[in-house]
C-alpha cells in the first residue's frame, strides 16, 4: 500500500514512521509507568486520529490493556460507528458504546428554558457533545483503571479547531506534535483500515460536515503552511515569496493567534510566595505521585 495513493503528502512533512512509532511507544509506556497505571482508554470516533491513537496504544502496551469507548450522538454517521467497531475488532481490544444523545438532549431540552436550548447553535451543541464525551471517558477511566489518551493532532491544536475541556482533555497525547498529514502517514504504516484513511475528516457534528469544508482549505495546504510558519519560523514576506497566498496566510495566522489560550493552562493570579506553574515547578509525575508503584 503506497502512501501517495491514499492522500497528498507534502514532501517536507514526510516523517520516518518507524522512529515516530518508537518514540510514541516509549512515550505511552513512560507516561503510564510514571503515573503507576498499566491500562489506557481512547474515545474512538471512527475517524483517523482516534484510530491511529488506539493502534499506537495497543502497539505500546498490548490490546488487552486498552479500552476503546464509542460515544455516538443520535445524528452521528452510522458509517463512523461501523469504522470504529472495525478498529476494535482488528485490535482485539475491549470496546464499549455509550450513546451521549440523552445527556446532550437532556441539557438542551425544555428543562433549561432561558438559555435558548431549543434553538442552540451547532457550535454550542458540538461543544457540549465534546464535553459530555470527555465526562464519559473520565468516568470510564475510573472503572477501567486506566489513563485517558488524547487524540488531538497538531493541525487542529494550532488552529484551535478543538473544544476546550472537551476533545482536548486527556492525561497525555501521543500525536499532538504530528500534523494531520503526518497522522495519515502513521495510519498507513500502522495498518489503519484504508476507508478510515481516505474518508473526509469530520467532527461529525451534523450530517455531511467535513473539516476541510468548514475551515475552507485542505489539510495538505494548511499543514504545509503551519510547518513553514510555526516550525520553520518563516515571516509573512518569506511565506509570500514561497508562493503562499497572503490572504490564506493572514487567515491562518489569525486562527493560530486567537486560539493561543486553548493551548495553555489557565493563568492563576500571582499572590503568594510560590505559585503553581510560575515559581512552583515540578515534573507532573515525581517520587510519591504514582497511585501505586509502576512496573
Amino acid at each position: 500500500m503506497s502512501a501517495k495513493a491514499l492522500f497528498t503528502l507534502p514532501p517536507e512533512l514526510a516523517i520516518d514512521t518507524d522512529v515516530a512509532r518508537r518514540i510514541i511507544a516509549e512515550f505511552i509506556r513512560g507516561q503510564l509507568r510514571q503515573a503507576g497505571f498499566e491500562r489506557a482508554l481512547v474515545g474512538l470516533s471512527g475517524g483517523i486520529d482516534s484510530a491511529v491513537v488506539a493502534c499506537l496504544t495497543a502497539e505500546a502496551i498490548g490490546p488487552e490493556r486498552l479500552l476503546c469507548v464509542l460515544m455516538p450522538y443520535r445524528t452521528s454517521s452510522p458509517a463512523s460507528r461501523a469504522d470504529a467497531e472495525e478498529v476494535v475488532g482488528r485490535l482485539g481490544c475491549a470496546g464499549t458504546l455509550v450513546d451521549v444523545s440523552p445527556m446532550v438532549d437532556g441539557y438542551f431540552g425544555a428543562a433549561i428554558a432561558g438559555v435558548g436550548g431549543g434553538e442552540a447553535s451547532a457550535v454550542r451543541r458540538g461543544n457540549l457533545m465534546a464535553r459530555m464525551r470527555m465526562a464519559v471517558l473520565y468516568d470510564h477511566s475510573v472503572t477501567w483503571g486506566g489513563l485517558v489518551v488524547g487524540t488531538g493532532n497538531k493541525t487542529e491544536t494550532l488552529i484551535g479547531y478543538t473544544t476546550l475541556f472537551g476533545d482536548s482533555a486527556s492525561a497525555f497525547n501521543p500525536i499532538g506534535d504530528l500534523y494531520k498529514t503526518q497522522v495519515r502517514q502513521l495510519a498507513v504504516a500502522i495498518g489503519v483500515p484504508e476507508r478510515i484513511i481516505t474518508k473526509a475528516p469530520s467532527a461529525d457534528l451534523w450530517p455531511g460536515q467535513t473539516d476541510e469544508g468548514e475551515v475552507g482549505f485542505s489539510y495538505a495546504e494548511i499543514d504545509r503552511l503551519l510547518y513553514w510558519m510555526v516550525d520553520k519560523r518563516r515571516s509573512d514576506e518569506e511565506l509570500a515569496a514561497m508562493g503562499f497566498e497572503p490572504g490564506f496566510v493572514a487567515r491562518v495566522t489569525r486562527m493560530v493567534a486567537t486560539s493561543e489560550f486553548k493551548r495553555q493552562v489557565p493563568p492563576i493570579a500571582k499572590i503568594g510566595p510560590r505559585t503553581a506553574g510560575i515559581d512552583y515547578l515540578y515534573p507532573r509525575r515525581r517520587p510519591g505521585s504514582a497511585r501505586r508503584s509502576g512496573g
Partner: protein
C-alpha cells in the same frame, strides 16, 4: 597493547528517584566490571533523571556525600563516569560528571554550557561550571569530561585535547526530536550529534566516548545512540536508538598514537595565537579596545555598521 574495554550504560533513569538510580548504577557497574570493563560510562544526570525543575535541590549531593562515596567504592580496578546534581559548599547546584577511579571520586566536571532555549531551561535551575580541564586517569591516558551541551561549543573538545585528554567523554540526556524522513538515521538530533562527534574525534585526534540516556521524562524521549568514535573519525561502535542496555566495546589505544603521528593536527595547534585573538576579541566586544576589524561607523563591540536594508531584509551595500 591490551585493548581498552569501554562499557556504555545506556540507561533510563527514574526521574527524582535517587536511591533507585544509585542501585541501578551499582548493579551495572558490577556487571561491567565482571565483564572486564576498564571504563564504564553512565549518562548525564543518570542518578537523578533530567527534567527535575524544583526537584533538583532535593536530589543534590555534595562531593563527599556518603551515597557517592559508596558508589565510588565499586570502582576498584576500573574507572567510571557518572552524572548527578552537585551542590557546592555555597549551595549552588551544578549538573556534574564525576570520574570515579579505584574507589575514589577523582575529578568532577561541572557542565559549562547550560542550554536555556527551545525545550531547555537549565540556567533557571542550575549554575554553570567555570572550569574545563583534562585529568590523568588510571587508564594511562588523559580523560576530558564534558556534559551534553558542552559539545555544542567548539572550544570544549579543543581545550580538553590541548590539556592532555586522549579520550573525550561526553555524557548526555539528549531529547530526540525531528523525525523528518530525510534525516540520515531517522532522527534529526542523532544526525547532528553523529556529525559533531566524528568531526571532534578527527580534529582532536582523540577517542570520543558518548553515552546518552534512553527513556522518557514528561514530554521528551531520549534517543540513546551512544557511541565510541576512533581518532580517525570513524565510529567503532554505535548503540541502537532507544534501547536500554549495557554495551561493551574494545578499542586499541595504539590507534590514537598512529593517528596523532600520521596527522599531527594537535601538534600544530597554535594556542598562543588563539589566546591573543581571543583576548583582542573579548576586549573589542566589551568596547574596551578599538575594533581593528570593524567597518567605519560601527558601534562599540560591533563589527558591522548600521546600513539601510531593502524591504526583503537584504543589505543594500
Amino acid at each position: 597493547m591490551q585493548p581498552l574495554r569501554i562499557a556504555l550504560a545506556q540507561i533510563a533513569p527514574r526521574l527524582g528517584e535517587l536511591e533507585a538510580n544509585l542501585a541501578r548504577h551499582r548493579e551495572l557497574l558490577a556487571e561491567a566490571r565482571a565483564g572486564g570493563a576498564d571504563l564504564v560510562v553512565f549518562p548525564e544526570l543518570g542518578l537523578t533523571g533530567y527534567l527535575l525543575q524544583d526537584l533538583a535541590a532535593e536530589v543534590a549531593m555534595r562531593i563527599d556525600d556518603p551515597r557517592l562515596t559508596r558508589l565510588a567504592a565499586g570502582t576498584a580496578g576500573c574507572s567510571a563516569v557518572v552524572g548527578f546534581v552537585e551542590e557546592s559548599a555555597d549551595h549552588r547546584l551544578f549538573i556534574a560528571a564525576a570520574l570515579l577511579e579505584d574507589g575514589e571520586v577523582r575529578h568532577v566536571h561541572r557542565k559549562v554550557f547550560l542550554p536555556t532555549y527551545g525545550l531547555f531551561d537549565e540556567r533557571r535551575f542550575f549554575a554553570a561550571g567555570t572550569v574545563l580541564r583534562a585529568v590523568p586517569s588510571r587508564l594511562g591516558v588523559g580523560i576530558g569530561l564534558a556534559v551534553c551541551e558542552d559539545f555544542w561549543h567548539l572550544a570544549v573538545p579543543q581545550l580538553l585535547a590541548l590539556d592532555g585528554a586522549q579520550i573525550l567523554v561526553n555524557i548526555s540526556s539528549s531529547p530526540g526530536r525531528d523525525v523528518a524522513a530525510v534525516n540520515e538515521v531517522g532522527l534529526g538530533t542523532a544526525t547532528s550529534w553523529r556529525t559533531m562527534m566524528r568531526t571532534y574525534a578527527q580534529l582532536t585526534t582523540s577517542f570520543v566516548v558518548f553515552c546518552n540516556r534512553v527513556g522518557v521524562d514528561e514530554s521528551v524521549t531520549f534517543w540513546g545512540g551512544s557511541e565510541v568514535i576512533a581518532p580517525t573519525g570513524e565510529a567503532r561502535f554505535s548503540a541502537p536508538l532507544h534501547d536500554e542496555g549495557l554495551y561493551t566495546v574494545d578499542v586499541d589505544l595504539a590507534e590514537l598514537r598512529r593517528e596523532r603521528i600520521a596527522l599531527p593536527l594537535l601538534r600544530d595547534e597554535r594556542p598562543e595565537m588563539v589566546l591573543r585573538q581571543l583576548e583582542r576579541i573579548v576586549l573589542e566586544r566589551a568596547g574596551l579596545a578599538p575594533d581593528s576589524t570593524a567597518e567605519p561607523g560601527a558601534g562599540p563591540g560591533l563589527d558591522v555598521a548600521p546600513e539601510p536594508a531593502d524591504a526583503r531584509g537584504r543589505r543594500t551595500a
